[in-house]
């Protein structure tokens, strides 16, 4: 049984590396997903995690090595975060760490795909024979398929 058997998400969205983080965040919220794939002219370029966007909103002094360890004393601090939202609008996705993930293709066996998904805790990209991005395989999609197959 290979991935050919699974129907992937209907229209795989894939943002370009120049898309702003703010726009990407809107997409994530709209589609209720935590990850958005990034493609450069149809070729897979990486994955943006919603956690990376959250990271950009944190004050720089807490992000750096040897920085602040806790921010309890800041209290509410929403104003601090709010001022970073405009940074999100100006930063393209390419400036954020795009996760280096293993890629799957249509001939990948389901069991191997399951193992890789577990190991990387993120949806994995599925590429076609020419290396073009076809869609993302999430744990939900795989498990939904397996549960049907196993007759549960």
């Amino acid at each position: 049984m290979t991935l050919r058997a699974i129907t992937l998400l209907p229209e795989p969205i894939c943002v370009s590396p120049d898309t702003s983080l703010l726009e990407t965040l809107h997409l994530m919220l709209e589609r209720r997903v935590n990850h958005i794939p990034v493609c450069d002219g149809g070729i897979w370029a990486g994955l943006v995690d919603i956690n990376d966007i959250l990271y950009e909103l944190l004050p720089v002094s807490a992000r750096v090595e040897h920085g602040l360890k806790d921010l309890r004393f800041v209290g509410d601090g929403v104003a601090l975060i709010a001022s970073h939202f405009k940074d999100l609008a100006n930063k393209p996705v390419r400036e954020v760490e795009l996760h280096d993930l293993p890629t799957l293709d249509e001939d990948t066996p389901l069991l191997e795909a399951a193992l890789l998904l577990h190991r990387h805790v993120a949806p994995l990209p599925v590429l076609d024979a020419n290396g073009k991005f076809k869609g993302m395989l999430s744990r939900r999609t795989l498990l939904a398929h397996l549960i049907k197959k196993a007759g549960n």
């Binding site: 004050p59 002094s61 806790d70 309890r72 004393f73 209290g75």
Partner: protein, 445 residues
């Protein structure tokens, strides 16, 4: 008991002076290039000194100043534990609120707090504690952190000059000469306070008067709750108790016939006891292992290696020779020698690490005891201390604290570049040495 090695011959029958100087210069040169970690270079140099027959192991060990090592290690343990209480963050935020988050007031307060902490703790630790909070506050106030980071760098080096424990050169000088905590405070405290105050004047004119923050942003900072920084008040009480005890110990050391190394190590052990006495054996082990892991072993081993290397050239007679040359060159004039040491130390310390420099100069000055009175030699120590400590402000590479702040600033997206820093810092440093010159003249010459 290992017999002392013959002074007349080193390996292959070469002159020990030549061999030891070669190893010394090589060690120093590699350290300056920063291609290899300095602790490794120092240890290798030490080993070579011994293998090359300049020293034997017993003499090498004798050259390691364990008072300095134990003082450094003891204080590192105490600070590592105290840091976890969040007290430093508390003080920094409190300081910001005392001036109602006014940008200039904030700069002055953070500088003063940094100077005070630096006097009691090592400079690198101090800036690691102050710089992140500074970055957060300037972020909240939406002002450039550069003037603040610049001032923090200066304050850490200036503050550290005022006490025996504030800066490694002072620890080394105090250790070699028996000058006490009180001696340093009484002799250097006054000039340090003046230098700190005067340094703020040009900083005000260049940056200070242009700093401004909106009322809303200041309100945000005023809303910070510094009490939340104290994560463990039991730890805080224990740490402050031990620090108070240790400082008292330093102040009384001379009168009770004790040395700072013992006091610091005992304090560290006492604080560790307070932290673990109610735990199970395995947890005790774990906690203590973790605390010992926070000690800057790179610095400690660097010192150990360096002491042996310097002991090597000292035994070979190189430092005696240098001392005679200096006295020759200054014509044995006390005033000229004092100023020469001050200014040369300052300029050299601004570009090379002051620790190897001071380690080398100590035996040199000690050799001058034939030419000058003990009172005069004491003045030379103050001259060396002021030059070596204040000189660190001259360039970004002048002191480790400078590089640490620069590294933090870079990662925070607000880099401090070498040349712009130097163009402001070098003249300011020279000014502080000029003030020191006046002070030395008024008080000792």
């Amino acid at each position: 008991m290992t017999p002392p090695s013959a002074v007349s011959e080193a390996i292959f029958g070469l002159s020990p002076l030549l061999v030891s100087l070669t190893i010394f210069v090589l060690t120093y040169a590699v350290i300056v290039t920063e291609k290899i970690n300095r602790s490794v270079v120092a240890l290798l140099g030490a080993g070579l000194m011994i293998f090359a027959g300049v020293l034997n192991q017993a003499e090498a060990f004798h050259g390691i100043d364990l008072n300095t090592i134990s003082l450094l290690t003891g204080m590192m343990v105490i600070v590592a534990i105290t840091q976890k209480s969040g007290v430093f963050q508390y003080v920094a935020v409190k300081a910001a609120k005392v001036v109602k988050a006014d940008p200039w007031g904030l700069l002055v307060m953070l500088s003063v707090v940094t100077a005070l902490f630096s006097a009691l703790l090592d400079n690198v630790t101090t800036v690691l504690l102050i710089a992140p909070v500074t970055l957060l506050i300037t972020d909240a106030l939406r002002i450039s952190p550069y003037p603040y980071l610049f001032s923090v760098i200066f304050a850490s080096n200036i503050g550290g000059t005022s006490t025996l424990i504030g800066d490694p050169p002072n620890i080394m000088i105090g250790s070699a000469t028996g000058l006490t905590f009180n001696d340093f405070l009484f002799n250097l405290g006054p000039v340090v306070a003046v230098v700190m105050a005067l340094t703020l004047i040009p900083i005000y004119f260049i940056w200070g008067r242009k700093l401004s923050a909106s009322a809303e942003d200041r309100a945000l900072v005023m809303a910070f709750n510094e009490r939340q920084s104290i994560t463990d008040s039991r730890l805080l009480k224990q740490a402050l108790f031990v620090i108070a005890l240790v400082i008292t110990g330093f102040v009384l050391a001379h009168s009770i016939g004790q040395e700072p190394g013992t006091i610091a190590m005992f304090g560290a052990a006492l604080l560790l006891l307070l932290r673990v006495y109610d735990k199970q054996a395995e947890d005790q082990s774990h906690a203590i292992h973790h605390t010992f892991g926070e000690v800057e072993w790179i610095t400690i081993f660097f010192f150990i290696g360096l002491f042996v290397v310097v002991a090597g050239i000292e035994k070979a007679g190189a430092l005696d020779f240098m001392a005679h040359k200096i006295v020759e060159w200054t014509g044995g004039d006390f005033t000229i020698t004092t100023y020469a040491i001050l200014w040369v130390s300052a300029v050299l310390s601004s570009v090379v690490d002051n620790i190897p420099f001071v380690a080398t100069m100590i035996p040199v000055i000690q050799s001058m005891s034939g030419t000058f009175t003990p009172q005069q030699i004491e003045t030379l120590w103050w001259s060396l201390s002021l030059g070596a400590c204040l000189g660190g402000n001259g360039t970004l590479v002048g002191a480790s604290a400078n590089l640490v702040v620069a590294g933090l600033a870079e990662r925070a997206g607000q880099p401090i570049r070498f040349l712009p820093f130097m163009l402001m810092a070098f003249p300011l440093m020279l000014a502080s040495i000029a003030v020191s010159s006046v002070y030395l003249w008024l008080r000792y010459l």
